[in-house]
Point group: D2
Chain length 442, copies 4
């Protein structure tokens, strides 16, 4: 059995709300890779391989050679931003990539000029956007749909995907207008302030059948109204929040502790960063959104309710500090208080000198490419198999999210195997020891 | 289909060559747990649970309630050592557990007096054993077999397992005497110095059909002669080297980096510890054995030959330093130089303030209990599914060892599910999204 | 020339507002030292030595043998607290010292029962005191004076000193009532809420000529009214804020960077602690007081106004996080971004696993003993030479505080040498090379 | 009283044996500073200021404005090396400074071509020099003297100094040929292999009255024969071993611990670096020289013999690991086990991501400039006041070296004040509190 996937013919447009550090790092990087200057390290779709069959078969094709993804050569970038800098200028301001590298791809980057953004300062108080659309929320959604269609026509694109790379919006919980598509569309007409800007982009995309991936912890597509719309238009959605830096490490380490039944008394996580993201998160309301996204992973992985002796009293605290000297070089420090045999205490300290956008850019790329493939495979609605990339993955209603990155990876890989008709891998491997159970199988 | 496993009736003897820090921490701990004073944290068999069936079934039984393991109440401990201290005295000297805890179980510990050890100072120059057997290697093996049989009879045991908790022996590679059982038995008769003391214990155990697990990086059962003997007597074997501390962290973290296709330029690992193990490893020949065991894990997990752009130039260095102020509180510091998108560099620093014996003791327990169950399930020879616990796992000849702790865990769990006739878990989970592929399955 | 110092005859009472973790650690420790169980490590007066004369003289007496201090045997402790636990109970709750140690000095500790505190919840919102005095601020001051006098009489004391070990009070700046003694005394009569509880104790002490040292960052004696009173009654005062943990490290390291003309871009300091102090500081108003005290040290040491190229743009951020798993084991992590030759960047990370009260207790002891000696030497008013112990030292009006711990130490040592008529030390040492300047001195 | 110092008229030649990472970083940096591109951060002579008079006088001139130093504009660089690369090529290979910076000063650097080195592979086994002089040790010394004189003439220099920036030589202790000038000169004639290459340079320099500073831990000028020669020719000497990185931090931190009478159980120091220095130190014989230099500082600062309760049992271990991924970016990690009040244990971990040559270059500059000034001030022989810059300072025979960096700084500053006729500073400061001792001075 193999799933039917339309081939990746023609050009793919990747449209990005928020042409800041992450987006410009992605775009400049893809240009550099296309020119043969650099490698797309950190991208599973480009650099990763997948084991097929038995260990002894030694089959490890690159993922891009295994499943039908769009090629980097066929990608066209575009986007929206509250500032009018072109991508070259924005990338220079972001100070993530060296000027010398940016200058090698300058021409291509200067050609990408942001469209005016759908913006509401109430959702990001520390930003002062000037390059913005005007109109009611309904009108803004219409304008974004026009933007998408024009972008597709102007560039002769076969398909388009949207990836939210904008700032984190302030925290709020869904209300009645987010529960059904009908209520949401009425709220658009009413210009209801409870519709966040990111939802306007998501609505416009889904309405057109364009896949949407959400790189920030905002609700955005994680509301019943959007899920309803995604199913209606047979469109893949995924979110929330690119899993980079500290949370990436946490979802690597926590499964390791749980695997060994080691207890955890406390986990203190602090971050210092000095980019635009750090500035936005310096506002407590925006930090709240991020905090909720980051806090959840431990609870899911350790399941204190099922393991009260080990994780019942865990104290988990997360701090993000705006610290300009580090710019985009986000740095985290974690102190983890664990206990082992007979309750004896041990400590783990992790200091991650990371680079926020360097880790996020390949995730944005992979989500775009996989979302596009999912659309061609007729996979609609929530793509839980992409939770590998996300801090706070969307799941089917009533289903516990899986945050263990290794289970997420198996899920992703087995999904790819399933799509291509390969055997799923269980790592049982008893067949290598064929005389083990002689005379013992019932 | 379900595998037939004999029930765990009667008492189980756990015999340990090397009643030092790890062994005494294990024995005292089991006594404390039996008295209800402490919890066996870090032991998957005692504290861990296993998911069965679909996520929505919410079935997570404790492993000890799922598979037929011996109960802690049915365990009787014994062992050999080059010093004649009883287990209480040895535990006090080891300074791993608090005196107050040891005093609560003092009586039981004082009753366990080591038998004389089979020892050869050439294999551990920094040790001065006085409580040792005399005779040729053949005679020593006969004496150890007598010890095992007497121990079983004297304590009215149903079954016995051996777990090597002795020091790391000096490095050497297998020679012709290690290739076949016949050659090995001749070498025993010849009192050939190339037979390490640990091999004498292993031979005696396997000859009697007693399972053997190797907690040190010595070859011991990882030679063709022993594998041949294990199959002949239908006995489970496992090794090498309890996976604790720094290597545990490494096999947690490296899969995380590989999962995300992040590159690695270098990995520097240093350790400070001040217990007997540290003293033995202060000798370069003994350290060599440990180094080989510790170095291999990265290569297996990252597979530089298949991923040359990411891992082709990795520089991996490991140091162990004898540092008395820390005693058994082994501490590691790792510096990891990674690179991401476009080759941009990042660093991870991990400082693990761990406790060597606290991490090792529950591993010794689990290996003993699982080895015993394997014997009752008629599983003979190399138990690769126990590689979860080991730094340098034994595998079928020609098979690459799997060091990724998460793949090792899936292998272990799916083996348990297989034994009990439960569905293997693949984490595919597409069935939760049942309308996803409408009209699309070929 | 030598200063006349009255001998330390008779008993010295040390009265402490706030019998929490620091005070009980101090009291239990002095008892343990008197019993010969432990050593007063961290106390310069008890363990430290001082160089006298030229290097070649090899004179290094202990400080306690060099200047006339009260002996530990002559100390009697007492104090006030908002909880009625005796010192043994309070020490057990504080969980700083092991129960086994506390039990060895239990009797002496149980005998010390706190007097009712002068308390105002507005100054420490996270505390719920029940063991408190009632009355107007004037009446409270009278009651505290009575307490002091009774304590002196009841215990047959020759002299008394007060050391504030209470919690940090909320932040406020001095107003007109703090400017003169007359205004302050009128405000007492008016029960003016701008008089903090700590000021009531300080006023009572100084009025009686009893030296007062302030271990918290509250203003307390650092207002003109108190300085006026101290001079009037010829009483030594010192403050503010015991210099422990992170700030101690900062005033060690920053002088090292400045010595070498290394630049600093940023200094990020975070703390995790879980004791009562941490709980109080979880309130932003109380944290503000602490923050001001902690922030000042860098500015003083690095003097950005005089060294704008090196320190003109320093970004300094301090965070304190309440983290119960660590209890009194305060832990700090600092990231320091420095730059050297040609502006090249380097980083220093410091992780201090410290114990708050263990570092503070000997400071409280030294301040008590030195304050008492100062009183006997007729040294009145601000004792700047004790700034060695303090985060935010009081100085003569208009004088820049000196926070470099090494300059503070020289000041302290040269003060002691001065008092005892010894040569001050300049470390010039040219006389060891006596032919260096032959024929060259003008 | 003021010392007579000849003015710094004319040009100063700085000749450097060993044009590797440190030397080329120094030379390129001075060129960059002269062009106004960069700042000489880390150089006390260029960036540092000095307090004069009372605190209230607010006099803090730059050191270069206070004492008569040669100006950067008047410096001419030259040197010797075992490789024939010019300084531009050598700097590019060293990878300390960015290519873009080096290209801005390329012309000046290319003009500096090394003279052939006096080399003996037995003193640095991991180096393969090809650009070397031939002849007996006596002849080599004559050739170096010719080199110096020619360099002075060719460049029209007023004065010359030598600063050793070559590799660390293998460890050896002085023998009878190093005890007197006569014996040493006879050994030169005998081509005695016990004369290390660095001694040939030193002898040549001192014979000509040219000051010599030693940046490596080799004996070099720290032997009686050289001291005798230095006095004879009235020439300043200083050594050994530029104090950078980990040892710099150690001599900052240890005085802080000692100041507070905090005990130390152990100090573990590890380093990773990947430059030529790291390669040379990978040889145990060369490491031994470095180890001796690095180990001594703690003992001097903590004086275990005088403080046995605090420092009597300190375990001090230092490791240097060759780790190519880090290049010149030497990184250190220290674990310090301290104890406080009643013996309670605490830990400090320091991770210093430093840059070896960036820290060393300004030290080389300062030593050159101060040595030149000392010569002009007629200060001959050992310059102990320069110990501030050195890991293992030379002192007068029988005199304990002072390694506390803060005492070293006071010594340096008070020496400058002394030279210029300013008051020495004692930090007593009692005069700011003029009524403190009213009626109390005897």
């Amino acid at each position: 059995m193999k799933i039917n996937i339309k081939p990746a013919n023609g050009k793919l447009g990747i449209l990005i709300p928020g042409l800041g550090a992450v987006a410009t790092t992605l775009i400049a990087g893809v240009e550099a890779v296309k020119k043969g200057i650099s490698q797309p390290v950190g991208s599973l779709t480009q650099m990763g391989s997948i084991r097929l069959g038995k260990r002894t078969e030694n089959r490890h094709p690159k993922i891009k050679d295994f499943v039908p993804l769009a090629k980097l050569e066929d990608i066209v970038f575009g986007g929206w931003d509250v500032y009018e800098d072109n991508v070259y200028q924005a990338a220079m301001n972001a100070k993530v990539l060296d000027a010398s590298l940016l200058n090698e791809v300058r021409e291509g980057l200067e050609a990408i000029v942001p469209m005016k953004a759908a913006f509401d300062k109430n959702y990001a108080k520390n930003l002062d956007g000037t390059h913005v659309k005007t109109g009611t929320r309904y009108e803004l959604a219409q304008q974004v749909m026009e933007d998408i269609k024009n972008f597709q026509t102007d560039n002769g694109l076969d398909r388009v995907v949207l990836v939210w790379c904008g700032s984190t919006e302030v925290y709020f919980e869904g209300s009645e207008i987010h529960q059904t598509l009908a209520a949401f569309e009425q709220a658009l007409l009413d210009d209801d302030k409870r519709i966040a800007p990111s939802m306007i982009y998501a609505y416009a995309a889904l309405k057109l059948g364009v896949p949407f991936a959400n790189g920030a912890p905002n609700l955005t597509v994680d509301i019943p109204a959007m899920i309803e719309l995604a199913k209606l238009t047979k469109t893949p959605i995924s979110g929330k929040d690119f899993k980079t830096g500290q949370t990436l490490m946490k979802t690597v380490l926590a499964p390791g502790l749980a695997a060994r039944s080691l207890g955890v008394h406390g986990w203190f996580s602090t971050n210092i960063l000095g980019n635009r993201d750090g500035l936005v998160l310096d506002d407590p309301d925006n930090f709240k959104t991020k905090e909720v996204s980051k806090l959840g992973v431990l609870e899911d992985i350790l399941r204190p309710e099922d393991n009260p002796e080990l994780y019942g009293e865990i104290f988990h605290k997360i701090r993000i500090n705006y610290y300009p000297p580090h710019g985009d070089n986000k740095e985290s420090w974690d102190n983890i208080d664990i206990f082992g045999w007979l309750g004896y205490k041990m400590q783990i300290k992790i200091n991650f000198l990371c680079r926020d956008s360097i880790l996020a850019a390949p995730i944005a790329l992979d989500l775009a490419l996989f979302s596009d493939m999912a659309k061609r495979a007729n996979m609609s609605g929530i793509q839980e198999w992409l939770s590998f990339y996300l801090k706070s993955p969307q799941t089917a209603p009533g289903l516990h999210a899986e945050n263990d990155i290794f289970k997420q990876l198996i899920k992703l890989e087995n999904t790819l195997r399933y799509l291509m008709g390969e055997d799923l891998i269980t790592h049982l491997g008893l067949d290598y020891y064929d005389d083990m159970f002689v005379d013992n199988v019932q």
